[in-house]
């Protein structure tokens, strides 16, 4: 492990600080007026307000999904606030207008927003509580016709694109949380890559929940036009608080003919303390549509944070010869619960999907892989390969694998492999007998276990993710 990671171990959750900043926060509660308030705050056009109200009305008739293998007390949706924005002049024109406290916060999180200090080759959109506070490298991307901006700005500047694609992959009524998000989403990121353009840098959004008693509901929309390529990264942290906070995001990806989208997440929301107090409820709907022929969407996720994770990034393989991939590492330590997996829906001919899931449970963590592979009648020669591996650390945790396989075309090939193993004392001793500390030994073995997934991450993220894995398993051995 590197020195930085070494410094992290023993620190516990290092992102748990709170930024002291003045915010405009909506009073708690959710009704049509709240929806109108959010929309008005953002100066939205009428069509979007109507769209939100439609979603709100649907949501009112819906109930929370109960099938996931997670337990939590009832959420009082009227107790949360649905909008919080750091007070600043509406829409900073440049980084010089961004509140220095905010810039400091991101610097502390290791995300420098000043372009000259920024990671080479990564453009960042920073979302603080409900609003996007800064987007870097916009001009440079603009020269290629790539749009990368906050969702709010996209609504103002590129309304037609937003209108065309919003809700086209995750319909409002898809599930309880997507309906809620559609009603009250505050901001998020928007990406459009024009035909034939290969985006020359990683695009990245960094989400930060700061305010207390607020939920975060961001919306991300990524469109890769014909023959385009984009790699998108998402990272997140939140302060350490005793109460649970809800994060209900929606991400929609659209890949047209021959386009490719690579979407990577390193999720490190505050997981709660060792006794299970506090932490983020991460109830997220992510889906990509491989709309065009030969298009490809890859999801890679490293989920180490949150008290509860409920997410199933999936692919609708509509175009012939399209490809969907899902690579996942999910860690649950202490009292964390994760119910996560993917949905691969084969609609077009010769569509292929690959699922590699690595679940790691420690402490009293509960980790469930839940995955659906569905081959529809028209999807001739569809192929899926699924591999689910679980690693247990200690004997008070649990791992569960729940595959759903529905094949409606006889020419399909679907393979599923699953393994469960315990971290072996022999492996630990072998590493330690070569001079590695317990923490380093565990980190090494766990990283080895996750290798097939980690190698899918862009370089900068892979290093982060490795450290994070070690840190989040801190205290689970010895």
């Amino acid at each position: 492990m590197t020195d930085t990671a070494q410094a992290l171990v023993g620190d516990g959750y290092k992102y748990g600080f709170v930024t002291d900043i003045e915010s405009d926060t909506a009073p708690p509660g959710l009704n049509e007026d709240t929806v109108r308030f959010v929309s008005a705050q953002k100066g939205e056009p009428e069509w979007l307000l109507e769209w939100r109200l439609g979603a709100y009305r649907r949501w009112q008739k819906m109930t929370e999904p109960k099938w996931a293998n997670v337990q939590f007390p009832p959420i009082d949706y009227q107790a949360a606030s649905y909008y919080s924005a750091p007070k600043q002049k509406a829409g900073p024109k440049s980084l010089d207008e961004v509140d220095p406290e905010l810039l400091k916060t991101y610097a502390k999180l290791g995300i420098p927003l000043h372009e000259r200090a920024a990671l080479a080759g990564v453009a960042v959109d920073a979302v603080f509580d409900s609003v996007s506070v800064a987007t870097t490298f916009k001009d440079k991307l603009g020269e290629l016709g790539i749009i990368f901006c906050s969702f709010g700005e996209a609504v103002r500047e590129h309304g037609e694109l937003v209108k065309q694609y919003l809700g086209s992959v995750v319909p409002q009524g898809d599930n309880f949380y997507s309906a809620l998000n559609s009603a009250v989403f505050s901001d998020g990121s928007f990406v459009y890559v024009p035909p034939g353009v290969r985006c020359p840098m990683e695009l990245s959004t960094y989400f930060r929940i700061n305010a207390a008693k607020t939920g975060q509901f961001e919306r991300t929309l990524v469109i890769a036009d014909k023959g385009a390529y984009v790699s998108y990264l998402e990272g997140c942290t939140a302060p350490q608080r005793d109460e649970n906070q809800l994060h209900a995001a929606v991400v929609e990806l659209i890949a047209l003919d021959d386009a490719q989208i690579k979407y990577s997440t390193v999720q490190n929301w505050y997981p709660g303390d060792a006794e299970g107090k506090g932490g983020i409820y991460n109830f997220v709907t992510k889906r990509g549509a491989c709309r065009g022929a030969r298009s490809k969407i890859s999801w890679t996720q490293v989920e180490t944070g949150s008290a509860i994770t409920w997410k199933y990034p999936g692919c609708l393989l509509e175009g012939d010869d399209s490809v969907g991939e899902f690579y996942s590492v999910a860690v649950t330590n202490n009292r964390q619960q994760a119910d996560t997996g993917t949905k691969m829906i084969h609609l077009g001919r010769n569509t292929r999907s690959t699922i590699i899931s690595k679940g790691i449970s420690a402490g009293k963590g509960q980790n469930t892989y839940r995955g659906l592979v569905r081959v529809q009648p028209k999807a001739a020669n569809a192929r899926n390969y699924t591999q689910c591996d679980s690693l247990l650390i200690g004997d008070r945790c649990g791992a569960h694998t729940v595959p759903y396989i529905e094949v409606r075309n006889p020419s399909a090939t679907v393979e599923h492999e699953a393994t469960t193993s315990k971290i072996s004392e022999d492996q630990m001793f072998y590493c330690r007998s070569r001079g590695l500390s317990q923490e380093d030994a565990l980190g090494l073995i766990v990283n080895g276990f996750c290798k097939e997934v980690l190698k899918e991450l862009p370089m900068e993220f892979a290093v982060e993710a490795q450290k994070l894995l070690s840190v989040s398993l801190e205290g689970s051995v010895g």
Binding site: R434, G435, L444, G448, F449, C450
Partner: protein, 247 residues
């Protein structure tokens, strides 16, 4: 260097495996420990390296004047103890070279020496690889995963050569090796021999001792050292078997 005094050790369930082992190893010496299967050789080696799961009921071990039994396995490694495993452990997904570099750097850091940069590390690796005639390809594979028995043993000796321990404990490193591999491994051990370095070789066969001449030979039987002598004891064993030497 190493002083074992009247060591008694038992495993979970209370069964006593070592029943009063005493052994003194001075700098530069090579000791061979021989004995029938199940006599406690690996137990002794494991206890010296800090393998968990044993209870020391009596006795003491000092290493370079320190109470060895109070040290964690990693501290022992950092203080120069190396155990070549009888059954090296597989670590899927972890690159062999990366593993070695982490180990080497951990040991360097503990000694307050600078970590090797990628270039220096590679240079050292190349030199030692050649010595053991190990294929480059072995370094790029996951630690011990899919290695043949002989490859695993050679990899242990390669690690030893890289980590340059003060006290090397080799647990049946010779078993399962063909004659060419045995020669390479022996060569590796001989290269390491130095006035300030000691080796404890656990072996079943006289064979290894033809290549690496020990200063002392001990026979371990049912958890006790029943005979000690010089190299000629090994020859005697070869003739009479363990029973003949009182084991």
């Amino acid at each position: 260097m190493l002083e074992i005094k009247n060591l008694h050790a038992s495993v979970e369930g209370g069964r006593e495996i070592l029943k009063g082992v005493s052994l003194s190893v001075k700098p530069g010496e090579v000791h061979a420990i021989m004995g029938p299967n199940g006599s406690g050789k690996s137990t002794l080696a494991g206890i010296l390296a800090g393998r968990p799961g044993y209870t020391i009921t009596q006795g003491a071990v000092t290493y370079q004047g320190q109470d060895l039994l109070a040290m964690s396995p990693e501290d022992r490694a950092r203080a120069g103890i190396f155990l070549a495993f009888q059954y090296p452990v597989e670590i899927p997904g972890v690159n062999n070279m990366y593993f070695l570099r982490m180990a080497l750097n951990a040991i360097h850091r503990a000694k307050g020496e600078p970590e090797l940069d990628a270039g220096q590390f590679l240079k050292t690796v190349r030199a030692k690889l050649k010595l053991l005639e190990i294929e480059d390809d072995l370094l790029q594979r996951a630690v011990n995963v899919g290695f043949s028995g002989g490859e695993k043993k050679r990899n242990e000796i390669f690690q030893m050569a890289m980590l340059e321990p003060r006290l090397a404990i080799l647990d049946e490193t010779d078993s399962g090796l063909d004659i060419d591999a045995l020669r390479l491994v022996s060569n590796g051990i001989n290269k390491l021999r130095a006035p300030d370095r000691s080796v404890v070789m656990i072996t079943h066969y006289q064979r290894l001792l033809d290549y690496v001449a020990p200063d002392f030979v001990h026979v371990l039987s049912e958890g006790r050292i029943v005979r000690s002598g010089d190299k000629s004891l090994a020859a005697e064993l070869e003739k009479t078997g363990y029973v003949g030497v009182g084991a």
